[in-house]
C-alpha cells in the first residue's frame, strides 16, 4: 500500500504536467493608469540592447486616464519603456546625437533603485541623410509580470522621477 500511494502520487504529479495551464497564466492582460501630469504615448517592451522594440500599450493616455486592456504573451521579467509627450520636472537626462557619428546611442539610464537621480530621458537625434529625426521622452525599467490581469500605475514621485506600481 505504501508503494501504491507513492505510485498514485507520481501519477498525479505527472498529470499536473499538462494541466499547469489551469492555474498558471501564460499571458498578461495589462492596463495602465496615468497619474502623472503629462500624456503617456504608449508602453513598449524593449530588448536589453535597445535594438528591438515591441509595442504593448498602444493608447495615448491623458493625465488621470486609463488605457484599454492589452493582452500579450509577456510573463516574466522584461525591460519596459514608457513614452511621454514631455516631462515637466527638471530631472531629465538628455541624450543627443550629432549627425555623422551615428551609432547606437549609449544608454545612460539609471535604475529606479537609485532614488533621487533622474530616470527620464530625452533622446534627441538630429538625423542627416537617410536617417530620420528622433525625439523621444521616455523612461525605462525592468518589471516583473506574473501573468493574468495586471494594473500598472505610472506616477511622479517627490523627486520628479517616474514611479511604477502594480495595483
Amino acid at each position: 500500500m505504501k508503494y501504491l500511494r507513492l505510485f498514485l502520487c507520481l501519477v498525479a504529479l505527472a498529470l499536473t504536467a499538462c494541466m499547469s495551464h489551469l492555474f498558471v497564466d501564460t499571458t498578461t492582460r495589462l492596463q495602465l493608469e496615468n497619474k502623472t501630469d503629462v500624456t503617456i504615448l504608449g508602453l513598449d517592451v524593449v530588448s536589453e540592447d535597445g535594438s528591438s522594440v515591441r509595442p504593448w500599450i498602444r493608447d495615448t493616455i491623458e493625465p488621470g486616464e486609463k488605457s484599454r486592456v492589452f493582452e500579450e504573451d509577456w510573463v516574466g521579467t522584461f525591460r519596459v519603456r514608457v513614452r511621454f509627450d514631455k516631462w515637466n520636472a527638471g530631472a531629465l537626462v538628455s541624450i543627443a546625437k550629432a549627425c555623422g557619428t551615428y551609432s547606437r546611442p549609449n544608454r545612460v539610464y539609471n535604475t529606479l533603485a537609485k532614488q533621487g537621480e533622474p530616470n527620464v530621458f530625452e533622446k534627441n537625434i538630429s538625423g542627416c541623410g537617410s536617417e530620420e529625426n528622433v525625439h523621444m521622452v521616455y523612461t525605462e525599467t525592468d518589471l516583473e509580470f506574473e501573468g493574468g490581469s495586471q494594473y500598472l500605475v505610472v506616477s511622479q514621485d517627490s523627486t520628479g522621477n517616474v514611479a511604477f506600481k502594480f495595483k
Partner: protein, 476 residues
C-alpha cells in the same frame, strides 16, 4: 518446444536430485510469463533483483526522510538556483539532438540484432524553473524534451538479420507544458528530429550496415525572439560496423555534418566477448569530426570520447576532449550496480567555455532508476536540454534492449541482465504418456479378480473365420 516457462521466483527450490534421478524435476508453482520464443533454456530476467534494488533505494530515501528529500527538491526546483536557458541554445539545438540520436543508434547497432526501445519525457513542474532568456528579458515557461527510439530486427536466415529503426525527439520551450499538443506561445520554440533507417546484420561475419534519413523540422519559432532558421532540413546517414570497429557519417546534400569512427575494444559478454578479465579493461574510443562554420570559414573540430571500464564493468569513466583548440570538454564517473545498466548513478563535470578557470566547470550528477531519472547540472542535460542548469530535472523514461535469445540490457551495457536459467526441457514422450495415463480408465474387475473390459464402438464378429478376430477398426 511448445511452451516456455519463466520463473519470477528467486532460487526456486527445484529438487535437483529426486529419487528417480537427476533428470526428473518437480516444478513448483510459479508465475508464467509470455515472452517471445527464445532458446530451449528458459531464461528469466531477474527483474525482482532490479526491483529490489530500486525499492532498496526508495527505502534508503525514506530512511533519510522523504519529507526532507521532497523539501530539498521543492527548494531546488524553485527559482532560487535555476538559470534561464538562452534563446541561442534553442536555435542551436539541432546538431546535439541529431548527434545524440546517431550515437544511440551506433550503440544499438553494436549488436544489430534483437530489439531496443527507448522512451522519455522530461518533467519540470514549475514555470519558473527553466525560464527563457530572450533579448527582451526572462520569460516564464517550460523547456521540454520528449523522445522515443525503437529498433527491431527480423531473422532472414540463420546469419542474416534485417532491422528497422526510428528515433524521434521533440524539444524546445513553450509557455505551457504539454504531452502532445503544444500551446504555441509567442516565444515558443519547438523543433523535432526524426531519424529512421534500415539495417542489415550478418552474424557470421559480425558485421552491420545501416543507412537512412534524418529530418530536422522547425515546428514553431516565435516572432522576433529567434533568428530565422530553415524550417525543414533533410540529412542522410550511414553506419557500417565490422566486429568492434564502426564508421558513421551524416550528410547534408554533398557536405558531411558528422563523421565518426568508433573502436569498441572493451570485451563485452553481450556480444560474445569475455565476461571478465583483462580484455574487459580495454578502452572504448570514438572520434567524431563535426562540421562547424565560423563566419564563412570552416572551423571543424574533432571530439574524442574515451569510455573506460574501471572496475568489473560496473564503474566507468567517460571523458570527452575537443581538438584542436577547445580542449577538455567533459568527464563523468558512472556507477552501474549491475553491468546491464538498468540503474545508474553518475557524477559529471563539463567545461562550458564561458568563463576561465575552475568557475567554468559545471559539476553535477544524475540518478537513473530504470523508469525515473533525476539529474542536477548533469553534463548530458546541459548539452541536450539547452544548457539547463541550476535545477533538478526529472525525466520519466524507460529504455531496454533485448538480444535475439531473449536477454535484456540497458543502453550501452556490456552484459545482459542477470537471468535465471531453469532446465525445463520439454519431453514429448513423457507428455504423451502422462496425458494418456490420465485418459485411461482404471479397469474394473469382477468378483474373481479378473479384468473386465468394456468394449466401445461397433464390434463385428467374424464367426465363419478359422481365426476369430475382433475388430473395432470400422468393419469395412
Amino acid at each position: 518446444m511448445l511452451r516456455f516457462e519463466h520463473s519470477l521466483i528467486p532460487q526456486t527450490p527445484y529438487p535437483i536430485t529426486s529419487p528417480k534421478g537427476p533428470k526428473a524435476r518437480v516444478h513448483t508453482p510459479k508465475l508464467y510469463w509470455i515472452l517471445p520464443p527464445c532458446s530451449r533454456q528458459d531464461d528469466v530476467p531477474k527483474f525482482y533483483q532490479l526491483s529490489s534494488k530500486i525499492s532498496f533505494t526508495i527505502l534508503l530515501f525514506m530512511k533519510i526522510g522523504l519529507n526532507k528529500i521532497l523539501l530539498l527538491l521543492a527548494l531546488a526546483t524553485g527559482v532560487a538556483f535555476a538559470d534561464p536557458i538562452p534563446a541561442e541554445a534553442l536555435t542551436q539545438g539541432g546538431l546535439p539532438m541529431r548527434d545524440r540520436q546517431l550515437r544511440d543508434i551506433g550503440l544499438v547497432l553494436r549488436g544489430g540484432r534483437g530489439g531496443f526501445i527507448d522512451i522519455g519525457y522530461t518533467y519540470t513542474p514549475s514555470s519558473e524553473q527553466l525560464q527563457l532568456k530572450s533579448q527582451y528579458g526572462v520569460h516564464n515557461g517550460y523547456a521540454f524534451r520528449h523522445h522515443y527510439g525503437v529498433f527491431g530486427s527480423w531473422v532472414l536466415d540463420p546469419v542474416s538479420h534485417f532491422g528497422f529503426l526510428t528515433w524521434f525527439d521533440r524539444t524546445g520551450w513553450d509557455s505551457q507544458d504539454f504531452f502532445f499538443f503544444p500551446h504555441y506561445g509567442d516565444f515558443a520554440h519547438i523543433s523535432s528530429a526524426l531519424t529512421w533507417g534500415f539495417s542489415y546484420t550478418n552474424s557470421k561475419y559480425d558485421a552491420t550496415v545501416a543507412l537512412g534519413l534524418q529530418h530536422q523540422n522547425l515546428e514553431k519559432a516565435g516572432w522576433r525572439a529567434y533568428p530565422h532558421e530553415s524550417d525543414s532540413l533533410l540529412f542522410y546517414w550511414a553506419h557500417a560496423r565490422f566486429k568492434n570497429v564502426s564508421f558513421q557519417g551524416s550528410f547534408y546534400r554533398n557536405t558531411f555534418q558528422t563523421l565518426r569512427i568508433s573502436l569498441e575494444l572493451e570485451s563485452r559478454e553481450l556480444y560474445g566477448g569475455a565476461g571478465n578479465g583483462i580484455m574487459t579493461y580495454l578502452p572504448n574510443l570514438s572520434a567524431t569530426i563535426y562540421r562547424r562554420k565560423t563566419g564563412d570559414d570552416d572551423d571543424n573540430f574533432i571530439r574524442l570520447n574515451w569510455e573506460q571500464n574501471l572496475y568489473k564493468q560496473i564503474l566507468y569513466a567517460d571523458v570527452s576532449y575537443d581538438f584542436p583548440d577547445d580542449g577538455f570538454r567533459s568527464a563523468a564517473l558512472k556507477y552501474y550496480p549491475d553491468p546491464s545498466r538498468m540503474i545508474g548513478f553518475e557524477a559529471s563535470c563539463l567545461r562550458r567555455h564561458e568563463r576561465s578557470g575552475a568557475k567554468d566547470l559545471l559539476w553535477g550528477g544524475a540518478i537513473d532508476l530504470l523508469f525515473l531519472r533525476f539529474a542536477y547540472n548533469s553534463a548530458f542535460d546541459y548539452e541536450n536540454m539547452f544548457h539547463a542548469k541550476g535545477t533538478f530535472i526529472v525525466e520519466f523514461k524507460f529504455n531496454i534492449g533485448s538480444t535475439p535469445d531473449g536477454k535484456f540490457f540497458g543502453r550501452g551495457a556490456p552484459k545482459a541482465a542477470p537471468m535465471e536459467t531453469t532446465q525445463s526441457q520439454f519431453d514429448m514422450k513423457k507428455f504423451m504418456k502422462s496425458h494418456a495415463d490420465q485418459n485411461m480408465e482404471t479397469p474394473t474387475r469382477d468378483s474373481e479378480g479378473r479384468k473386465v473390459l468394456h468394449a466401445k464402438g461397433i464390434r463385428y464378429e467374424n464367426e465363419g473365420a478359422a481365426t476369430a478376430t475382433t475388430s473395432n477398426e470400422g468393419g469395412y
